[in-house]
């Protein structure tokens, strides 16, 4: 076979500026002269200079210190009372109850703790129960629930999610509500009595609704809708969680606070972030302008002790607290703000000195091109 050479230029597909085979005015390959392509986009080029950094530090310092003081003062004005009723000590009133632990005991164990408030609690008082060393944030615990079931889905009611194992079924019946969270629902009953100086114990009215988020109560948690209006009929074919003494439709008599939308259940199902936590239990509403919600004096906390925590060295607490715009009592943020503000101010001064020492020198130093 014979072959003669072909033009090297065409071989390489290179036209060296000459128009293509048929083209008369081949398009120039000159790049576009746009600001973007030439990397000349208009831009602001801030640099950290003394003129910007130092005022920033002073201003932050000046802003943070008042905020911190405000937070601190607010936090200090909040009244809070906390008692531990776990019953660890022999002397503690609930010691006996804490020792005899059985899920199935039909006779509830009760104990009462007496305490006194030195200062009256104004406005609404919030009553919390607190647990310590309780890992509600454990991964397997957190996911052991079926949101679909809690949302009232009938299929999930009868066939709960696998995540609920091993609290999914009992004796062949699906558990409602399923999962480890629901199974370990806090079931102590706390009652509060005011010891009138004349010797009578006046029960204090504890409001048990309004303690859960609106979205939880109305969106996330819904009772399944069955044929009848009776909740027990809807939950027919399901069983109660292993550790529960009642069925879910027996949690309360009020139909708006029964079943899945029982607020105690909802609050419990909103798992805590840390192993020491508190959950809202009841609200003590202000009665009138004349008297404080909880006047100074002696009180008795009556506990129906059902919830065992001694086995894992947990603690149970009851907390009474008023709240402010910033929430509950916590001096941490206030102190932190004051500290950061002061450090900023101090740093501002230090940087100012350093700037005076070095800044002028490096400013004048010229750079050889």
């Amino acid at each position: 076979m014979m072959a003669s050479s072909y033009s090297a230029k065409e071989e390489d597909g290179h036209h060296s500026g000459a128009p293509g085979p048929g083209g008369v005015n081949a398009k120039s390959r000159k790049p576009d002269n746009t600001a973007f392509k030439q990397q000349r986009l208009p831009a602001w080029q801030p640099i950290l200079t003394a003129g910007t950094v130092l005022p920033a530090f002073f201003i932050i310092g000046l802003l943070f210190i008042p905020i911190g003081i405000g937070l601190y003062v607010t936090s200090n004005n909040i009244k809070e009372y906390e008692i531990d009723y776990t019953g660890v000590d022999m002397s503690s009133p609930c010691f006996n109850c804490s020792q005899n632990y059985s899920w199935n005991s039909t006779k509830p164990c009760t104990c009462s703790v007496a305490f006194s408030l030195d200062q009256p609690f104004e406005s609404n008082v919030f009553m919390y129960y607190g647990l310590s060393n309780y890992y509600q944030n454990h991964r397997r615990y957190v996911k052991s629930r079926d949101d679909s079931q809690l949302n009232g889905n009938l299929n999930s009611l009868k066939d709960p999610s696998k995540e609920c194992e091993p609290y999914r079924t009992n004796d062949g019946l699906p558990i409602a509500p399923c999962g480890a969270i629901a199974n370990s629902l806090f079931n102590d009953t706390l009652e509060l009595y005011y010891n009138d100086p004349n010797g009578t114990k006046i029960p204090i009215r504890l409001v048990k609704t309004g303690i859960a988020w609106w979205t939880d109560k109305h969106v996330k948690f819904r009772n399944p809708v069955g044929d009848g209006s009776n909740l027990s009929a809807v939950f027919q074919g399901t069983t109660k969680p292993v550790n529960w003494q009642k069925y879910v439709y027996q949690l309360d008599t009020d139909p708006d606070n029964n079943g899945f939308i029982n607020e105690d259940l909802i609050v419990w199902m909103r798992t805590a972030a840390l192993p020491t936590f508190r959950k809202l239990y009841r609200i003590i509403e202000k009665q009138g302008d004349a008297t404080p919600t909880l006047p100074r004096g002696n009180y008795t906390l009556l506990i129906t002790y059902n919830y065992p925590v001694r086995s894992f060295e947990g603690r149970k607490r009851m907390i009474l607290s008023t709240i402010s715009w910033m929430g509950g009592k916590n001096p941490f943020l206030g102190i932190a703000y004051i500290t950061v503000g002061s450090v900023c101010f101090f740093l501002g001064v230090v940087l100012l000195i350093i700037h005076h020492k070095y800044g002028s020198r490096s400013n004048n130093a010229d750079i050889a091109s």
Partner: protein
């Protein structure tokens, strides 16, 4: 093994075909100016005796033409197409190899054997010149060709940062495993202590604590895997692609004359451009334009030609009176032409007469236009100059030269032609004038000419001064002289010459000796000065790059003199440098080696410099010396010498000889590189493509430096492939270099912008990007780590699942990507103006393990703040409406929000070039975060996908509490203020070059706008060096003398066998 093949013919006509279709055994026809597509055995050509001229600049960088010859038998019998079609021969030859200077083979045709050597071969990469047509037989095609064999392996190139990045990812993996293992152990202990007694956690499975720990280990591997930046690789590639596009789009690297924009052919190496330490550059076509121009001359002590380049206002001399004048020739000194036209200055006449007579140029008459075919562009330039000034070389035969002298045609009889070679550095021609007078014309290097001048020769001093001036302007000089010879003197010499030319042994030396006899007592006429035109802006570019501490080595296949001359003209070499040549270097290296062997071969003691004397040094070394020095291909001699050495030193050296050899070779290479790096300029000349690549890899190996090679020809391919970054000069005819390069542009001067602007920006951007990227992933992921201490080491995540999924994609990637694409600390103008800004890149200061660990600690610090501030604020408190915000979901939202604010503000701090896109990206990221969060926390989505979106209402419930906002603000303040403080301190106390320039940016930019006066690159000092550099090896003297190249010969004489050996085309 031998390759043998038959010629395969099936068709009887030539047809056009593509290179890819060329096979071994094809007979192909090449036309003038074609690139040779394969290694071809030259069969016949349209020139007499099947002579074929080739330009080998692509192959070896030499600018002179070489000639190749077909075998006598093929020349005679294979001229016609039909003859070629019936050509059947068996060729046995060497197997494919990379030796460009060697070829052996045998052709068996019609029962006769013909030896083949390199003179019969047309090598791929060369170009056919001055030959209308030639026919050849393909011996090696494709990748078997010698030039391709020289090309070296195509490596997969990676950047240093890539490597570093990989190691860092390994480090992160190790860290991930360690942390996971630690937490898994924690989980085991926790289970033993608390977990197994917590009835509420009971899962009904009888698993031991250690097994649970093991499961938790894998759980943490999954949870913490975001620490390993998977998306980093994708993002890095995106950024590099962007940088490459910016290079392609750069108008300032666009060469309008050839319509060639710069092209980044790879998109993976950009940031490496900001770290170059060594540049290896080719000379021909890269530094120079490969155009010679007759710039100046001195005749009889009088200098003609302008002092400083062609000024804008001066108009070139009008040569229209001369019908032979070449339109492209320009000369700006009008006095010379008036001298000629006045016809009263005999020396000027003599000068141009010499130029028109004493050369080996051949002439073609195309349409009444003279076309000169010169062996070198230098010689072409000289003859063209003479032609324009009225001394037109018209034609030559075997022994006559016809010229037109100011219109009158005269024919001279050529008695002898004593050609150039690298030792003689001169050529002479002995002519019998029409009036019977015999005269010798000689041109050559000033050094050799001055030795041979007649003591009474005039103008020696003035010419010497002129030569110095020329040398200062880095023009290439040649001295011209003549000598009248009496008939008797000629006769006696002629006999000796004849005797020498037929002597059997050492003919070359004998001829040289005879030439010496006649070339003496010369009379000086003057000197010429030729400019080897540099590409625009080469000296400025080299000066700038040198200021950026980039070392530039010139590696060229061209000759020492030309390379040295270019070294001077592009300011690589300066007069205050001490230049060391090969022998000097070899001695020094041998001394060093002897020292080492004296100390038992150990190199423990600190290296003293090779050049203890103060002052700058330069190295000029040829390929031959390079082989010698580096023990390449000198195995036998080396072994011999080694034996001697070993005997001399010690007999108890029990080391294995081979090992010793290797060690010694390595030591020698290391010494050589060390020595070369002490020099401020290194020029390697007459090096093969392979050697070029070797030099590059030596530097890479022993200096661990990042190298860049730039070249334009096929001979640079290997070097371009070997270096970390290869740059090809595009817009020229050959595409070999461009095809194997990583970046291509049209002019050497664009290198400055590529490195100092694009490279630097790319490096800074990439480093900023990587530092931030690692930081942002650490800050993000390690919150899980802190949280695990409070969640029973159960691999519980600290954020919502969806947030983890979207964090790297939507919430944090765009701003940093834009920084990686657009950030500029200083403008391009200032980058070029202050080459010192390039230094941090070379030292790798902006991204290394130190930066990595800084990022790591910064990330750890930030994640701690993000976790512990909410921790402190939340633990025991409750919300505004009495509901505890200490629930897991609110906590997750607060940490996530803090994180988003912190990482986006952090990138804002790092952004030094705020365009509207950056603003948009930062604000957009935050907005998208809140937008998406409120959506997936909405009631509607929970109703539709109940199990997938379980954070219903968290965002609205949590974020309406001022307390949580105060927490977020505090988190931001604590994590960002220290950064600002530290950065400010660094900028105040230890400002970097870049910081200073940034600070004074306004001032510099104002200066930049003022018109800067052009800087003339003129050396003030006078030099005493010879500026002789003729890119001309042995010319065509033999051809001319033998008459083989002369057309239209009456009789085609059989060529004596002896002559064929003479024209050694000097291939490297």
């Amino acid at each position: 093994m031998k390759f043998s093949f038959n010629i395969f013919l099936s068709f009887f006509r030539f047809k056009e075909s593509k290179w890819m279709n060329i096979h071994v055994g094809d007979v192909i026809r090449l036309k003038k100016n074609d690139f040779i597509p394969a290694d071809i055995l030259l069969l016949s050509s349209s020139n007499p005796n099947s002579l074929c001229y080739v330009e080998t600049a692509e192959l070896d960088g030499e600018t002179n033409l070489k000639f190749k010859m077909g075998l006598k038998v093929t020349d005679e019998k294979l001229q016609e197409e039909s003859q070629l079609a019936s050509f059947d021969a068996l060729i046995e030859c060497e197997e494919p190899n990379n030796r460009l200077d060697k070829f052996t083979g045998v052709m068996k045709w019609k029962d006769e054997f013909y030896p083949l050597d390199l003179d019969n071969m047309l090598l791929r990469g060369c170009k056919i010149r001055n030959t209308d047509e030639c026919h050849g037989l393909v011996i090696f095609a494709g990748s078997d060709t010698k030039i391709m064999r020289n090309g070296g392996k195509t490596r997969f190139k990676r950047t240093k940062i890539d490597e570093l990045m990989n190691y860092m990812v390994y480090t992160i993996f190790v860290l991930l495993f360690l942390v996971s293992a630690g937490l898994a152990i924690g989980n085991s202990f926790w289970y033993e202590e608390i977990g197994k007694r917590a009835w509420y956690l009971s899962d009904g499975l009888q698993q031991s604590a250690s097994y649970r720990g093991f499961l938790s280990f894998w759980g943490y591997i999954i949870v913490l895997n975001t620490m390993v930046p998977i998306s980093l690789y994708v993002s890095v590639e995106v950024i590099r692609l962007g940088q490459s596009k910016f290079i392609n789009w750069d108008l300032q690297m666009y060469y309008p004359e050839k319509d060639t924009p710069a092209k980044a052919r790879t998109t993976t190496l950009n940031e490496q451009l900001g770290q170059i330490e060594y540049i290896f550059t080719d000379k021909t076509g890269t530094l120079t334009q490969n155009i010679m121009a007759f710039k100046k001359c001195t005749i009889g002590g009088q200098i003609y030609g302008d002092s400083v380049g062609p000024l804008k206002n001066s108009r070139p001399v009008d040569f229209s009176w001369n019908k032979y004048a070449d339109g492209k020739f320009q000369f700006f000194d009008h006095s010379l032409i008036s001298h000629i036209q006045s016809k009263n200055d005999l020396e000027v006449f003599e000068f141009f007469k010499l130029l028109s007579l004493c050369h080996t140029v051949m002439v073609d008459q195309n349409d009444k236009d003279l076309v000169y075919q010169a062996a070198s562009p230098d010689e072409g330039a000289l003859v063209t100059a003479a032609r324009n000034f009225g001394f037109v070389f018209l034609s030559r035969t075997q022994d006559t030269i016809t010229v037109s002298e100011m219109g009158s045609v005269a024919t001279y009889q050529m008695l002898a032609l004593l050609d150039f070679n690298s030792d003689r550095k001169r050529m002479s021609i002995i002519l019998r004038f029409p009036n019977g007078k015999i005269r010798l014309y000689c041109k050559g290097a000033d050094t050799v000419i001055y030795e041979r001048l007649h003591p009474s020769s005039q103008n020696k001093e003035t010419t010497q001064t002129a030569l110095e001036t020329f040398a200062n302007e880095t023009l290439r000089t040649l001295c011209l002289c003549y000598k009248d010879i009496s008939n008797e003197e000629y006769e006696t010499w002629s006999k000796k010459h004849k005797a020498a030319s037929i002597s059997m042994s050492n003919r070359e030396e004998a001829l040289d000796e005879v030439s010496e006899l006649i070339e003496k007592n010369l009379v000086l006429i003057g000197a010429t000065a030729i400019e080897d035109k540099l590409q625009d802006g080469v000296p400025e570019t080299i000066a700038k790059l040198a200021k950026a501490d980039i070392k530039i080595w010139v590696l060229t296949g061209d000759k020492k003199e030309t390379a040295e001359n270019i070294g001077y003209s592009c300011d690589l070499l300066t007069d205050d440098m001490k230049i060391h040549y090969g022998d000097d270097v070899n001695v020094k290296l041998q001394n060093r080696q002897a020292d080492n062997i004296g100390t038992d071969g150990r190199q423990g003691k600190a290296k003293e410099p090779f050049f203890p004397e103060p002052g700058k040094n330069a190295l000029i070394i040829t390929g031959g010396w390079l082989n010698e020095i580096l023990y390449e291909k000198k195995k036998k001699r080396r072994r011999l010498r080694l034996r001697k050495l070993r005997k001399k030193t010690s007999s108890n050296n029990s080391m294995d000889g081979q090992l010793m050899n290797e060690m010694e070779k390595e030591q020698r290479q290391k010494d050589f590189v060390d020595m070369a790096c002490e020099c401020s300029a290194v020029i390697c000349c007459r090096v093969t493509p392979k050697q070029k690549a070797n030099v590059v890899s030596l530097v890479k190996k022993y200096k661990k430096a990042i190298t860049l090679s730039i070249g334009d020809g096929a001979n640079d391919v290997n070097m371009i492939k070997t270096a970390d970054i290869g740059v090809g000069i595009s817009g020229q005819e050959g595409m070999q270099a461009v095809m194997s390069s990583d970046y291509a542009f049209a002019q050497f001067r664009y290198l400055q912008r590529l490195l100092l602007v694009h490279g630097r920006w790319s490096y800074i951007r990439m480093c900023k990007f990587l530092r931030y990227f690692f930081f942002k992933n650490f800050a993000f992921t390690l919150v899980h780590f802190w949280y695990s201490f409070f969640s029973g080491y159960s691999a519980q995540i600290a954020y919502e699942n969806w947030f983890i999924t979207l964090y790297n994609v939507c919430y944090s990637s765009l701003p940093v990507l834009l920084v990686g694409l657009l950030d500029q600390d200083v403008s391009d103008k200032l980058s070029v103006r202050f080459p010192k800004l390039y230094l941090p890149g070379q030292k790798g200061l902006l991204f290394n393990y130190k930066n990595f660990f800084t990022s790591l600690f910064h990330g750890i610090f930030t994640s701690m703040i993000i976790f512990f501030i909410p921790y402190g604020a939340f633990l025991q408190t409750m919300g505004q409406d009495g509901e505890a915000p200490s629930d897991y979901q609110s906590f997750a939202v607060v940490t996530a929000s803090s994180l988003i604010f912190i990482v986006n503000l952090q990138i804002s701090l790092e952004t030094s070039y705020w365009t509207f896109v950056n603003c948009f990206a930062v604000l957009g990221s935050i907005a998208i975060y809140f937008g998406i969060m409120f959506d997936i926390h909405s009631a509607g989505i929970h109703v539709i996908f109940t199990s997938a979106f379980t954070f219903t209402g968290v965002a609205s419930n949590a974020l309406r509490q001022p307390y949580l906002w105060l927490t977020i603000i505090l988190t931001m303040a604590i994590s960002l203020l220290p950064v600002i403080c530290v950065e400010f301190l660094y900028k105040t106390i230890w400002p970097s070059e870049g910081d200073k320039i940034q600070r004074n940016k306004k001032k510099y930019e104002k200066e930049e706008e003022e018109v800067r006066k052009p800087t003339a690159f003129q050396r003030g000092r006078r030099s005493r060096r010879s500026a002789y550099a003729f890119s001309h090896s042995q010319g065509y003297a033999d051809l001319i003398a033998s008459g083989r190249s002369i057309r239209r010969k009456p009789v085609r004489k059989p060529i004596p066998e002896s002559i064929r050996e003479v024209p050694q085309a000097e291939n490297i």
